[in-house]
């Protein structure tokens, strides 16, 4: 199956290591992608706060574009984009009046309509579905590296009528990294938000949330955090030193994207998965590699 590849604004501009490692992994597994990078923003929560119709118009437009390219599935790297698209697929089914209104708006602007039928997948699901293939191609493993796995809210709880994973006990990301010889530890705050969505509205609150998560991961014996979301990655990795300064407490928990770990497992070099772009040194993780 061919996927429309939609990395999203944040990944393409601020989290290049995610774009790079994702493409590397997809390439290694021979999963075919078609760029839909000239599509606009997906209509995330900040736009939903302003106007639901604007946000839904954008999401539906991208799915309509995907269909127009002759594709039946779209893959996202960002759970926020995943959730925007998933919500369109579910709300168009649940609320016919809303679907008509959004389509009417789209028809008069873009001359396109979304009639449904594009399967929305986060890269995590695509790779999970190829677990067997993935296991066969693993050339290096991480010898019992202990990881706090953080799949992200907008992946696990993207919609109340479609669940990609168990919302109270998500396991997909855990299983993906366990295939690499990594041990996923139990950490009490696993399901909690990283705080990133409130960063520009209430900075203190946002960093406080991230600090609680970092503490919880560390107290649970995790030697790293694994994320599947560019915003969570930013919060735990790039903001970690800011949080450490504010709290006068050292965490020193390296945080990596799941695609970086899988890429390394598939034989890509640290540079090929953009590991040098991570702020908190991931050197301790590399020591586990065999």
């Amino acid at each position: 199956m061919k996927y429309g590849y939609y990395p999203g604004c944040y990944v393409q501009t601020r989290m290049l290591q995610y774009d790079l490692s994702a493409r590397g992994v997809l390439g290694k597994l021979g999963i075919e992608i078609v760029e839909i990078s000239d599509a606009p923003c997906c209509g995330p929560a900040v736009i939903k706060s302003v106007d639901q119709y604007m946000a839904s118009g954008l999401s539906a437009h991208i799915l309509a574009l995907t269909k127009k390219l002759g594709l039946n599935a779209i893959v996202t790297l960002c759970p926020e984009c995943f959730s925007s698209f998933t919500k369109i697929n579910t709300s168009f089914k649940d609320d016919v009046k809303f679907a008509e209104e959004v389509n009417h708006m789209l028809a008069s602007t873009a001359g396109l309509q979304y009639e449904g039928g594009v399967e929305v997948k986060h890269l995590l699901q695509v790779l999970y579905d190829r677990s067997d293939d993935l296991s066969e191609n693993i050339v290096r493993k991480f010898n019992r590296l202990k990881a706090a796995v953080h799949p992200g809210c907008h992946f696990t709880r993207s919609s109340t009528s479609y669940y990609p994973d168990d919302p109270e006990n998500p396991k997909m990301l855990d299983q993906l990294v366990e295939n690499l010889g990594i041990e996923s530890v139990y950490w009490p705050l696993k399901l909690w938000c990283c705080g990133a969505p409130t960063l520009s509205f209430d900075r203190d609150l946002s960093l406080k949330l991230a600090a609680k998560k970092l503490s919880s991961a560390k107290a649970s014996g995790a030697e790293c955090i694994v994320t599947a979301c560019p915003y969570c990655q930013m919060q735990f990795d790039q903001n970690q030193s800011i949080i450490e300064k504010r709290l006068e407490e050292k965490f020193e928990v390296p945080t990596v994207l799941f695609t970086q770990l899988i890429g390394l497992g598939l034989g890509l070099s640290p540079e090929e998965v953009g590991l040098d772009m991570n702020r908190v040194s991931p050197d301790t993780i590399l020591k586990f590699m065999k």
Binding site: L16, S49, F201
Partner: protein
């Protein structure tokens, strides 16, 4: 002792909220408080999630719209997920932000900035020269410019244009 004036009651507020598919779910709330006990930011909020629902039902519009809580929500959907009655509280909070803006309550600058980026470029975030060069160095495909006529037209049909005062 000075008496603080009671907040104004807007009896139509709950009815207005119930007008949407999402808002209708508010009717089912029986104040069990599962939302507030599941919320990672409730302890910091001036009005807790379960109180937001009750205040809507009581028509206490101004205190809700002026609360910090509606902007403190991290939109993690934990409340929505765990609500035994199917109340779509996160989505309700997002629409409260929309109403607050419409009623002229000051909004965080970041919202306006996001809308401006979207209007001008079609994307939420733009690429700096440094990032552009970095993408090229990493041999990542160039980010094509987006035809913004669609986003602009969409914006003109919705509240985004009002916020940016471009209408």
């Amino acid at each position: 002792m000075m008496r603080t004036p009671s907040p104004k009651v807007d009896k139509t507020f709950f009815e207005q909220m119930k007008d949407s598919h999402i808002g209708r779910t508010l009717s089912y709330c029986y104040q069990c408080g599962t939302c507030s006990s599941s919320c990672p930011v409730a302890e910091e909020m001036d009005i807790k999630p379960h109180q937001i629902v009750e205040l809507i039902k009581m028509g206490l519009k101004d205190p809700i719209l002026q609360s910090k809580a509606i902007w403190q929500c991290s939109t993690c959907y934990m409340c929505t997920e765990r609500c035994p009655q199917g109340v779509q509280l996160t989505s309700v909070i997002l629409s409260l932000r929309d109403i607050a803006m419409r009623e002229g309550v000051p909004i965080p600058g970041a919202v306006k900035e996001s809308c401006k980026n979207l209007y001008d470029t079609g994307r939420l975030l733009t690429l700096s020269q440094f990032q552009k060069e970095r993408r090229a160095k990493l041999q990542l495909p160039d980010m094509p410019q987006i035809d913004t006529s669609l986003t602009k037209e969409l914006a003109n049909k919705t509240r985004v244009a009002d916020i940016l005062k471009v209408k």
